[in-house]
Symmetry: C2
Subunit: 344 residues, 2 copies
DNA sequence: GTGAAAGCGCTAACAG
DNA sequence: CTGTTAGCGCTTTCAC
């Protein structure tokens, strides 16, 4: 009952020709190798008839290409990353690549472990949202001629492909939007800015408040603390100490979650009285009360850009000569109720 | 500069022994094969020294095992599935398996395409959230001796491993909870119940209302319509026609999203006046106003069960003799504000 | 105790 | 135009 899969050899034997010929035909090299039209057709037809599927593992061993891409993010269950993953998946499959997703929790050790698990050669390429301290690993990946493109953040001084958004501009614009809506004491809650995307978000905010004669009021929570659930306490303390805040700008979507939880539990009125903006959109924002203004990243464009950088690299042999592609995309500020002037 | 990876042969040559011996040692068969302690140690040390990593592709070709699992769900960007994926990922990695996630959109053609893409042999096992009409494909997978475990739903009359929740009980309990909170006209909004999980949710609801002398009032939207965005209109019409509803039970989390959107746009007061329960939890529910009651699935238990079924199958040769494992887990009703009696 | 060698299924240089 | 053949890196049977 065990259906033994057909191999290229079966086809060759059945048709009484050599495996080479079959291989050439199947790989679309019939023309190039001057194989007769009839033979080509015969092979193709028979292959289809018996539903031949090449053994990709054998192909991989031979060609050194696995047709597998790794998509490593902070947390695949995070709204932003899972949406991105979903779109990237579709694009990759259309190009004949499978995608392995994994989550590094923004942890260096876990990142290195995962990258080494994929073993530098089992996969054809990487999309990586890098944790803060894996600069060296990325560099050695590049030196080993493995296609990598960084996502969401990058390392200063490392010549590596990347697709990021213009965090500073996005943050600047969102802050200005709040200022235009009469908010004067705008708090900025972020995770510790030891990575480029967070640096940009912070500096955009600072620049905007400064240019408008206001003072920056920031809370920087180390990522680790957020991860282990201490963010709530930190945010609560922040609001206890910083009295008179009339608006708050959260630098990531999970900070919004925590922030709203704090409001909900302590001063529910804040939810309506405060101007609120979230970095990253969430499906729930448009049905929240009030609806929440957000900085929305262009998911489709990001995924497309990733693939456009990656694909050519997957074909090339020597990547070293390539100048890295650094793409910076713009975000969209989706203005909803939460950020509109509360002044009548 | 190209770092050519070390092979088993390099080790053998360096140590002036045969590849066989190296292979035995590396595979932990030193004892079994009576290889001397010293030689064993020498090999192991040298392997570590040069940081030897077996080429998994070659291993796969030889052993027929790829150490890759496929985790196919409806939509990896859906909150429930992405959380599940995240947990499953961790468990699988610990056991030495990589996981490829994919989304079938509950579409038969896409499901079949994906399953066939993975080619019946490149992957060691499948976790599948099956679309309605792929019963035959699943059966042929089983016949071909490929480990499969169905998730979230299954097919009546097919002897296949599965991990599901007790939908009927969950739905029954949630409905009774609403009834206990004085709600009398409870609407049930679901997608067309042509799959087991939806059948269970519907029947649990119907049973509960009937047993309590109430009438079922249901809206069944075909999955396709939801997918193309027609759900909103359907739900709007439902509330226009069914006047006097005092509560609503949504059978999936994306229906809640659509429902809240409808309320928000048309009769915002409903959000507070209506009793609301959602099947599947969402991180945002606890910060919504009101906080939303939900039926929460045990994500960790589900993932663990999946792996516990899968692992032994991955080792066995002949699966046919195995009696399938069918696991049914219980959900938890997380009671929040939205479902509490509105009667003072 | 250890090694030689076959071969997993495929590709592609080389030969005719 | 088509076929022979040598591996890709590894596991495992069989022989010594």
């Amino acid at each position: 009952m065990k259906k033994k899969p057909v191999s290229i050899r079966n086809i060759a034997e059945e048709l009484k020709i050599s495996v080479t010929t079959v291989s050439f035909v199947l790989n679309g090299k019939a023309k190039e190798k001057h194989i007769s039209k009839e033979l080509t057709k015969k092979v193709l037809e028979y292959a289809k008839l018996i539903n031949y599927r090449p053994n990709q593992i054998a192909q991989s061993l031979r060609t050194g290409k696995s047709k597998i891409l790794v998509f490593m993010v902070e947390d695949i269950s995070n709204h932003f990353f899972s949406k991105l993953a979903r779109i990237f998946e579709d694009i990759a499959y259309k190009k004949g690549y499978k995608v392995i997703f994994c989550s590094n929790e923004n942890d260096d050790e876990k990142s290195n472990e995962l990258i080494s698990l994929f073993n530098f050669r089992q996969v054809d390429g990487f999309v990586i949202v890098p944790s803060p301290g894996i600069k060296d690993t990325i560099e050695s990946l590049i030196k080993d001629n493995i296609p990598v493109v960084l996502l969401d953040r990058f390392f200063e001084g490392v010549d590596c492909n990347s697709v990021v958004i213009d965090n500073e501009k996005a943050s600047f614009d969102a802050t200005v939007h709040l200022i235009n809506n009469q908010f004067k004491k705008i708090g900025f809650i972020t995770i510790a800015p030891n990575q480029t995307q967070m640096k940009g978000r912070l500096s955009g905010y600072v620049k905007a408040v400064n240019e408008n004669g206001l003072n920056p009021i920031t809370l920087e929570i180390p990522y680790d603390e957020v991860y282990v659930g201490k963010g709530k306490e930190r945010i609560k303390n922040f609001f206890d100490e910083e009295t008179g805040l009339d608006a708050v700008f959260f630098a990531t979507n999970y900070l919004v979650q925590i922030g709203l939880e704090v409001f909900k539990e302590n001063k529910p009125s804040l939810i309506n009285d405060l101007g609120i903006v979230s970095f990253d959109d969430n499906d729930m924002y448009k049905i929240y009360s009030p609806t929440i203004t957000s900085v929305s990243q262009p998911l489709v464009e990001i995924s497309t850009a990733l693939m456009e950088i990656l694909l050519p690299l997957l074909k090339k042999k020597d990547l070293i000569t390539e100048a890295p592609h650094k793409i910076m995309l713009n975000t969209e500020l989706i203005i909803r109720e939460s950020s509109l002037s509360k002044v009548m």
